[in-house]
Assembly symmetry: C2
Homo-oligomer: 212 residues x 2
């Protein structure tokens, strides 16, 4: 069955790969699954036709026959569960890889989202400069814990998994802030993710749209 | 195999059920699985023995034989996948229920967490009063979209699932703010979750510790 995902007609990041369709493209490339892309404008994302696919009016969505999914974590998990290459076969190792997916999305991404909001949505507020160091310190706390756990391992738990795909994708959002470079082992971890051929193909595919 | 979870020795909320072990207890009660609890002090959470179980130094954790999991979403998912009662059998319905788990944790909880942080961690900052309405409006935006999707349905997608368990648990964090009551259909949805016998048992179990 044909897989169709949605992506921004024009990504707010201009093609840096930070829009969330890149995470889904990456998973599809790791799983070697072909897919089509339907581009959606900012206006169309908030209209009823798109809201039927995605209640929060965002991208990406995922359509495969009768199945409609939203929420990047759920889409990547669905791909990982139905194709080889993103989750280990051993039941316990699989549960731990899934744990890292949730950890990326619910423990690491929230403080990073807060930093993005502090800079973009609240960058012009009178408190912006005084508040920013607090927000950055909350991100640093998580990165300190994450880098302690990673140690000098290549990936978070054995072989590369959907947990790493999600964690690398979440950490990539930090690069513009300079915070990632404060943690060399995490910066190297992210670079290993970006060096994967599947990530390269995913990145190129989203760039081709945004550079057009 | 015996299941052991960790919980706060003394929950910061004094037993209101907002600590995340309640979510795991609820899932275990829905799945009718017995479990043991190991209580952890705030100091012990940050010590090496606990950090080996949970890299971010939090509760809950989940131990079952050789398997150690952290991250509430992953633990609830693991329980849901191995026992009846929390995920539908039909493959597409199952994928959609899992989607709501991720949506609760990555789309709805982050703005709610921001509100908790704005009040608790930044409540004494000079910008607190002026900034609070912005944070609340970001929560309201999500609640508006969520209540539009829920409509007059009982649960988010067919029968009660782990997606509802997670969404109700996330929305419960909003009750002290009064924001939940601005959305009567969501307040009623949360009340339906709380009325489930499994939730009642989970709530009572955590209260028994914190009232002691």
């Amino acid at each position: 069955m044909t897989i169709i995902i949605t992506a921004f007609e024009r990504s707010p990041d201009g093609g840096k790969g930070l829009a969330r369709d890149t995470r889904v493209r990456w998973a599809l490339e790791e799983a070697e699954q072909p897919y089509g892309v339907r581009l959606v404008s900012m206006a169309a994302m908030k209209e009823p036709a798109h809201l039927r696919l995605h209640p929060f009016g965002q991208i990406p969505t995922y359509e495969e026959g009768d199945l409609v999914l939203f929420e990047t974590g759920a889409i990547v998990f669905h791909i990982a569960q139905h194709h080889a290459g993103l989750l280990p076969d051993d039941a316990n190792a699989r549960a731990r890889a899934i744990t890292w997916m949730f950890a990326a999305l619910n423990s690491v991404e929230p403080p990073i989202l807060e930093l993005v909001i502090a800079k973009i949505l609240e960058g012009d507020k009178p408190w912006a400069q005084e508040r920013l160091p607090l927000v950055k310190d909350r991100v640093r706390e998580r990165l300190t814990q994450l880098s302690a756990r990673l140690g000098d391992a290549e990936w978070l738990d054995g072989a590369f998994s959907a947990g790493d795909l999600m964690m690398v994708s979440v950490l990539l959002r930090l690069r513009p802030s300079g915070l990632l470079d404060e943690f060399p082992s995490l910066a190297a971890y992210v670079a290993r993710g970006e060096a994967r051929p599947a990530y390269q193909r995913a990145f190129a595919a989203q760039l081709a749209i945004n550079a057009a």
